[in-house]
């Protein structure tokens, strides 16, 4: 494509723009970094034409839970490789979690530092999430006000909960005062202890320490209660079990400002996948049961869970290819998020495409309060074009992320991203060879089924 014209006309596609309540055949004209117009049968007007016949045209996906590892652990991922992986998955905006090593994003200076690297290197938009407490140690509040002023879109101690209830309460008050969202990773360490997989028969069979679901839902309950008392906006990260869904459902019924996300692995995999001690099935919260998977799908369908986020957590081989109890938690997910969601949720009629796009674009954008996730006139031209029924194979050799820790290698996924625009500029999601098209080769690295 010739980008010097900087005008693109995307024609004949099915435009799904939930924020503007659009789902139909509309053309969209991009001029510079903005959407110039949306309508039927738009004139070419010197724009390069992109034919989207048979495809879905949607606002670029927004992944609100991503670990980019830079600065500090560039051996696992960089902002450049992470956002390249995002583009591959149709994701044009990511929210980067603050749990960097050795220094968490807990100050205005660190927010600025991540933003500066992103400005120079990122392929997609990077929004910064700051820590709630200093270096995420759960002891004293971080400079929430300063981070907000430098552009942080939320605060979270993700990877851990703020265990101290009084401190979290103070954080929620401070967040409310500064109109910033608090994202809770719910894990009561007094309950989860040294656990590594879901508590139950599988943990017993494998001789691994279990993590009871209550470690999650008791803190979902606690954090919602505190949000209610303080009036702060609270978002629950990576919901993994039925009880958490029920608690959030009840909170929403009583009109609290609570939102929630889940990750694709929580609606595709169960604890049964851990039976081969494949450490790519080790995550926090852990994979749960079939009943939990069903509850997560239901909560996605009825809007109790607002968003799908990958919890992209890159780890090097030497952190993963070791004993199960010693291996790092987490998997990469930017490149597979849409493909898994389409295969699992649309395939099983949990959601239609419009519902899926809402949960992967307009909803997370709204939760974070960022001007993304919509394609009205004048909006930033972040756009994804998806071939909805195209099946593809996630191949290990094709992974753009610096780390390869995925249980989905060799899986057949659905919904191929064919074009991505970030701020009006096309970013080819595919390598020239047409990565992953047609017959895939099973690499045998992962051992997981549902």
């Amino acid at each position: 494509m010739n980008s010097s014209t900087n005008r693109y006309l995307i024609k004949n596609g099915r435009l799904i723009d939930p924020a503007n309540k659009i789902d139909g055949e509309f053309d969209i004209l991009i001029a510079g970094s903005k959407v110039e117009s949306v309508g039927k049968g738009l004139k070419n007007n010197n724009a390069e034409v992109v034919d989207a016949k048979g495809k879905i045209v949607a606002p670029g996906l927004v992944d609100m839970h991503v670990h980019l590892r830079e600065p500090g652990r560039e051996d696992k991922e960089t902002i450049e490789t992470g956002t390249l992986a995002a583009i591959r998955g149709g994701i044009t905006s990511v929210a980067a979690m603050p749990n960097l090593e050795p220094q968490a994003v807990d100050s205005a200076g660190m927010v600025k530092r991540v933003n500066d690297i992103a400005k120079a290197k990122a392929r997609a938009n990077v929004f910064v999430i700051g820590a709630i407490t200093r270096n995420r140690e759960g002891k004293e509040l971080a400079d929430i006000k300063g981070m907000k002023r430098h552009g942080a879109v939320a605060v979270s101690d993700d990877g851990a909960s703020v265990q101290d209830e009084r401190l979290l309460s103070a954080a929620l008050k401070e967040a409310k005062k500064n109109s910033i969202l608090v994202i809770s990773h719910c894990d009561d360490r007094r309950i989860s202890g040294q656990g590594v997989i879901n508590e139950g028969f599988i943990a017993t069979k494998l001789g691994l320490r279990g993590i009871p679901k209550s470690a999650e839902y008791e803190f979902v309950r606690r954090d919602i209660e505190l949000a209610k008392k303080t009036g702060a906006s609270l978002h629950i990260a990576h919901v993994s079990c039925k009880e958490s869904c029920d608690i959030i459902r009840a909170a929403k019924r009583s009109h609290l400002a609570i939102t929630a996300e889940t990750a694709p692995h929580y609606f595709t995999l169960t604890e049964e996948c851990c039976v081969t001690y494949d450490t790519n099935t080790k995550m926090n919260p852990p994979l749960r049961t079939k009943d939990d998977v069903a509850a997560i799908k239901k909560a996605l369908a009825d809007g109790v869970i607002d968003a799908i986020a990958s919890d992209h957590a890159p780890h090097s081989l030497h952190d993963k290819d070791i004993e199960f109890d010693k291996a790092a938690f987490g998997i990469i997910g930017l490149e597979t998020s849409l493909g898994l969601a389409a295969a699992e949720l649309i395939g099983n009629k949990t959601l239609g495409w419009a519902g899926l796009i809402a949960r992967m674009s307009s909803n997370p954008a709204k939760i974070l309060g960022i001007k993304r996730g919509g394609l009205g006139k004048g909006a930033t031209a972040d756009i994804v074009i998806i071939d909805p029924d195209k099946e593809w194979i996630y191949e290990g050799a094709s992974i753009a992320s610096k780390s390869k820790n995925s249980p989905f290698i060799g899986w057949k996924l659905k919904g191929r991203v064919t074009e991505v625009f970030v701020n009006g500029t096309p970013h080819p999601p595919l390598s020239p060879k047409g990565r992953g098209e047609g017959e895939g080769k099973f690499l045998g690295a992962s051992l997981c089924h549902t």
């Binding site: 028969f201 079939k290 030497h318 290819d321 899986w411 089924h449």
Partner: protein
């Protein structure tokens, strides 16, 4: 009789009844060897066994060492100290380095559940699990079953109670898999805090009543209480445990006359069992030790001549997603 094809012995979960019976049958012929004047056969001459122990265990290591030597294997013992693990060599690195010495069989003991699985995926040598975390200790269960069978003539239909810290016991798990496959009725008995969640799904009866576990049992397998480790948090003291769960002559008064008492060793006398019981007529504890060599000879002999990597059945739930590979295989 079935033919043995598995290159590894990782656990009894993935052995069939016929395969377990084959090990016991093979052990029988080696048992005879161990009673000869010259206790050695050339069955595995030229093969090399490494005992790779990440946890100290003189008994199990000695038993494997003797078993290998009686098969005319060369044996190397590697005790990996926690400190050298901390220095950074991973299990897979160690395994591959050992294999580079042209080793045929790696016998591994590890404190992490699943470590032998991870090792077996990385090496071509046979891997024999000599105990992994709380997961499995297959040769211990095989020797327990061998001893039971030689004492009582059969396994099928026997009532066997496993007593002690079920939650943290690999011996318990392997015994449960093996005994239930061979048709025994298994009861597990422990204080409620030491009964792991979902244990009944193994198809065992669960009780915290020690007298109920003894009543009607043909055999009891009494586990070692690791008060210095995991059992500690769950039970207040050794004396208290002995009072409530210790196996004593008084407790055994109501037992079946022919009750067989087993213990994987080493015994904590006065904790899980009184000396009178340990040394008494019902005890087969020393026979277990003797039989352990024959059983381990059988295991080494069988895996040494097999090539097949473990094939796991896929988990039962949901829809299969894999493009290739009907079965999940460790082999790559």
């Amino acid at each position: 009789m079935v033919k043995w094809v598995k290159k590894d012995l990782l656990g009894l979960e993935y052995l069939s009844r016929e395969e377990i019976e084959l090990v016991l049958y093979t052990a029988d012929s080696f048992k005879e060897v161990t009673t000869r004047q010259i206790k050695k056969v050339p069955a595995l001459r030229g093969k090399t066994v490494v005992n790779l122990f990440y946890e100290p265990s003189t008994r199990t290591r000695t038993s494997f060492e003797l078993a290998a030597k009686r098969l005319s294997c060369d044996v190397i013992n590697i005790a990996v100290e926690a400190s050298s693990v901390a220095k950074g060599e991973t299990l897979i690195d160690t395994g591959r380095n050992v294999e580079a010495l042209n080793i045929d069989i790696i016998v591994v003991r590890h404190s992490s559940s699943g470590a032998p699985y991870i090792l077996s995926r990385a090496v071509k040598a046979s891997v024999v699990n000599a105990g992994d975390g709380w997961h499995e200790h297959p040769t211990q269960a095989l020797l327990d079953m061998y001893t039971l069978k030689s004492k009582l003539g059969r396994i099928e239909g026997l009532s066997v109670s496993i007593i002690g810290d079920i939650a943290h016991s690999r011996v318990a798990r392997s015994n449960i898999w093996g005994l239930t496959k061979l048709g025994a009725k298994v009861t597990v008995c422990a204080p409620p805090t030491l009964i792991p969640i979902g244990i009944e799904k193994f198809g065992v009866r669960v009780t915290s009543d020690i007298d109920e576990a003894i009543r009607g049992a043909d055999a009891i397998n009494v586990l070692r209480m690791q008060f210095e480790r995991d059992s500690m948090q769950a039970f207040p003291s050794r004396i208290e445990y002995f009072k409530q769960y210790g196996i004593t002559e008084e407790r055994l008064e109501k037992a079946k006359p022919g009750l067989v008492v087993m213990h994987p060793g080493p015994i904590n006398r006065g904790v899980e069992m009184s000396s009178e019981v340990a040394d008494g007529p019902r005890s087969v504890i020393l026979e277990q030790v003797t039989n352990g060599i024959a059983v381990r000879m059988a295991v080494l002999y069988l895996v040494a001549n097999a090539k097949e990597h473990l094939t796991l059945p896929s988990p039962p739930s949901g829809e299969r997603k894999k493009v290739r590979g009907k079965e999940t295989q460790f082999e790559q």
